[in-house]
């Protein structure tokens, strides 16, 4: 009879020891939709190794699995993920399912030491006024890139760092006439919808949704069809990553996401230059892409998660991310003196684009929830129908504008920058 309590004691002791061992192993889990590629993940891990609070386990994941996991953990009430890092567009689903902590206080305490970009902080509130769903983590954007051989064909008096769309068209024409083939490329099979939403429409109309079927938008499409597209490499419809045709020499000038141009600058920094996107009658539309850090309610260690976010926002870490991974800081005071050549070239262009006098920051669509992809299809449809299929501009804008309005009404999404804020669903004028 005496043996049983003894056995029980042993079991309890073992459990206690095991428990304390597990408790001491206070590692944090950081799940990210960014830096999924093997080499990038390794670099991210190296940066995270500098965090002193705890060991950080960096888990790369696609967006879908991350959402599924967090939903499942939310339903179970307990979880494994402490911090998530994802693009702005991943958060609406998390907000809708009410899975995230309010980080207002954490942000306030971070801002006591470092200044975080206000526009991105606003984005992190997901349209609310007093609930910080994520804290901005890092940014990227889209710029132009060109082979240095192309510069000789620049139209007279044009400054490559302050181009207009007209000048880009003239430049493309001059290149085609000189070399015998079209030398300008766009990633039509890639992220081209961002070009339309954040660059083409805003720089001609000053808006994205509200001015979708305005006369200025019609003028933009006419310009694309008649003045620009004849000098664009026709294989653009199959381009997805512009670093490929740039490196292989299929095109001399291209537009794409900074990360998708980066390999060209990494591989041959002496051959390529980066420069801001052109400006139109309304200004220089550009689209910052922001990734944020959030803490799910189910985080096993919220205190550790907060410390990790604080670490990620420090100018030193932000600098390391720029240096090693080519994503741009969202805080001020980052040391940019010691960048690799390729990164420095791109960083200068990103800086010039964001700080241009006529810059019109155009944000990623907000508040469309699960239908976030549909707006991209609408913008693409408008472009394809007019520029590639040659359909009537007014008819196309009227029809696609109606589709856009339906989308806004059904999701109830309010306007986002550059459109002025709206009461209720955003209206296509």
């Amino acid at each position: 009879m005496k043996k049983i309590p003894f056995l029980a004691l042993v079991v309890v002791a073992v459990l206690l020891i095991a428990g304390t061992v597990i408790a001491q192993d206070n590692s944090l889990t950081f799940m990210s939709t960014q830096f999924n590629v093997v080499e990038e993940a390794e670099k991210a891990r190296a940066i995270l190794a500098g965090f002193e609070g705890a060991a950080v386990e960096f888990v790369g994941s696609e967006e879908g699995p991350l959402l599924d996991l967090l939903r499942a953990e939310g339903q179970a009430g307990e979880g494994t993920v402490d911090v998530i890092g994802a693009l702005h567009g991943t958060f609406p689903t998390l907000v809708n399912d009410d899975l995230m902590f309010d980080l207002t206080e954490l942000l306030a305490s971070i801002e006591e030491e470092t200044d975080v970009n206000d526009a991105f902080v606003q984005l992190g509130r997901m349209g609310t006024e007093d609930y910080q769903y994520y804290i901005p983590w890092m940014q990227a954007t889209y710029t132009m890139a060109a082979h240095k051989d192309a510069l000789q064909y620049l139209p007279e008096g044009a400054d490559v760092n302050a181009l207009t769309w007209e000048q880009l068209a003239q430049w493309a024409q001059a290149m085609q006439e000189a070399t015998g083939k079209p030398q300008l490329g766009f990633p039509v099979a890639g992220l081209f919808h961002r070009f339309l939403e954040g660059y083409a429409f805003p720089s001609f109309t000053g808006g994205m949704v509200t001015k979708f079927k305005s006369p200025e938008a019609a003028e933009m499409l006419r310009f694309m069809r008649d003045d620009l597209w004849p000098y664009v490499n026709p294989e653009s419809i199959n381009y997805d990553f512009m670093n490929e045709p740039l490196l292989s020499g299929e095109v001399l000038v291209a537009f794409d996401h900074t990360a998708r141009l980066k390999p060209a600058f990494d591989e041959r920094p002496e051959d390529f230059i980066a420069f801001p996107a052109p400006a139109g009658p309304a200004g220089r539309g550009y689209m910052p892409v922001v990734a944020g850090l959030g803490i799910p309610f189910t985080a096993p260690d919220p205190d550790g998660a907060e410390a990790l976010i604080r670490f990620m926002l420090s100018p030193e870490t932000q600098g390391a991310v720029l240096h090693d991974l080519g994503f741009y800081p969202v805080v001020s005071g980052v040391d940019t003196s010691d960048l690799p050549e390729g990164v420095a070239i791109q960083a200068a262009a990103v800086e010039a684009q964001a700080n241009a006098e006529d810059a019109i920051p155009s944000l990623l669509p907000v508040g469309l929830g699960e239908r976030g992809g549909e707006i991209n299809e609408i913008f693409r449809n408008a472009f394809n129908r007019v520029v590639i299929e040659g359909q009537d501009i007014e008819t196309v804008l009227e029809e696609e504008g109606a589709a856009l309005q339906t989308l806004m009404d059904e999701t109830g999404a309010a306007c986002w920058a550059p459109d002025p804020p709206s009461e209720g669903a955003c209206q296509v004028e």
């Binding site: 999924n36 590629v37 093997v38 993940a41 790369g60 994941s61 696609e62 879908g64 699995p65 599924d68 099979a189 890639g190 997805d240 990553f241 670093n243 490929e244 490196l247 292989s248 020499g249 390999p263």
Partner: protein
């Protein structure tokens, strides 16, 4: 051409015989020309099939720089495994290859286990409704996978079976089952019934006769049908990309990353995907006609 020589005494003397000889020679020549043109045709078609495979293989074994180069070379020189290594090291490729293998093997097992009894029944029994069932099974083959995949994805999500390797394997098994049943039936039909009867006479039970006599004889054919299931599952893209997210199979993963990757990745992926075909078709080539022969009837 070898000249036929005749001993003097039986040398043909009539002029008509000489003409006959010339005629025969002409016929021989015409025959030779015909044979030669068939060979040329055969080789030309073989080149048409093999050339693209050769080209993609030479890309897969060139350096990434050579893959981007222009004009492209049709020999991989310098020979390099860099491009293939880059492809295999890309996140998700190894995992999705393992997924593809697991899905294909599971699909093969499910489909074969179900098809063997069904095929045996169709081959060995005459029963009311046999033709209707055959026709029904065949017509099921006509439903586009597209129609099935969309609602199945929704059902799987509801049942918590979404994004699971075994769910996709079950789907693939369903897609190949009709073909497998008919092929297995034709394999069983080709095993002489007399053998089975003899076994029964010598005191075997029906199950024993099946197990000891029929199955061993039918096994190579069944294996070929199973391999065909494997190949179909390995190649299937549409259901795979709809029914999985984190557990993608290889073709689904490659299609998904197609617009996120450069030419070296694409070409290496294209080559990697067709290698199993080169191997498996070699093993089942003799059975191909047996399989499809029956479906015609």
């Amino acid at each position: 051409m070898t000249e036929t020589t005749y001993p003097d005494r039986i040398k043909p003397i009539t002029p008509s015989a000489e003409r006959l000889d010339a005629q025969r020679r002409r016929a021989k020549l015409a025959h030779a020309v015909r044979r030669a043109s068939i060979y040329i045709l055969a080789v030309a078609i073989a080149i048409w099939i093999l050339l693209p495979i050769w080209l993609i293989a030479s890309m897969a074994f060139s350096t990434p720089a050579d893959v981007r180069a222009f004009p492209k070379q049709i020999l991989p020189s310098p020979f390099s495994t860099q491009t293939l290594e880059f492809f295999l090291n890309t996140q998700g490729i190894i995992n999705s290859t393992i997924n593809s293998l697991v899905v294909a093997v599971l699909a093969l097992v499910i489909s074969t286990l179900l098809a063997v009894p069904a095929g045996y029944a169709i081959a060995r029994y005459l029963f009311p409704g046999r033709d209707a069932i055959r026709l029904g099974i065949l017509s099921v083959r006509a439903f586009p996978v597209v129609v099935l995949a969309v609602p199945l994805a929704v059902v799987f999500i509801r049942l918590g079976m979404f994004d699971k390797v075994h769910s996709l394997a079950m789907m693939h098994a369903a897609l190949t089952l009709p073909t497998t049943i008919l092929v297995v039936a034709s394999v069983f039909a080709s095993v002489p019934y007399e053998l089975e009867e003899a076994a029964l006479i010598f005191g075997c039970t029906r199950a024993q006769a099946f197990w000891r006599i029929v199955l061993p004889l039918a096994l190579p054919g069944i294996a070929a049908a199973a391999i065909l299931t494997f190949v179909l599952s390995w190649n299937e893209v549409f259901a795979a990309i709809l029914l999985t997210i984190s557990n993608r199979t290889l073709p689904a993963q490659i299609l998904y990353t197609l617009d996120k990757s450069g030419d070296p990745f694409k070409f290496a992926g294209g080559f990697f995907m067709l290698v199993p075909s080169l191997i498996f078709i070699f093993f089942i080539r003799r059975y191909l006609f047996n399989m499809w022969g029956q479906i015609n009837k």
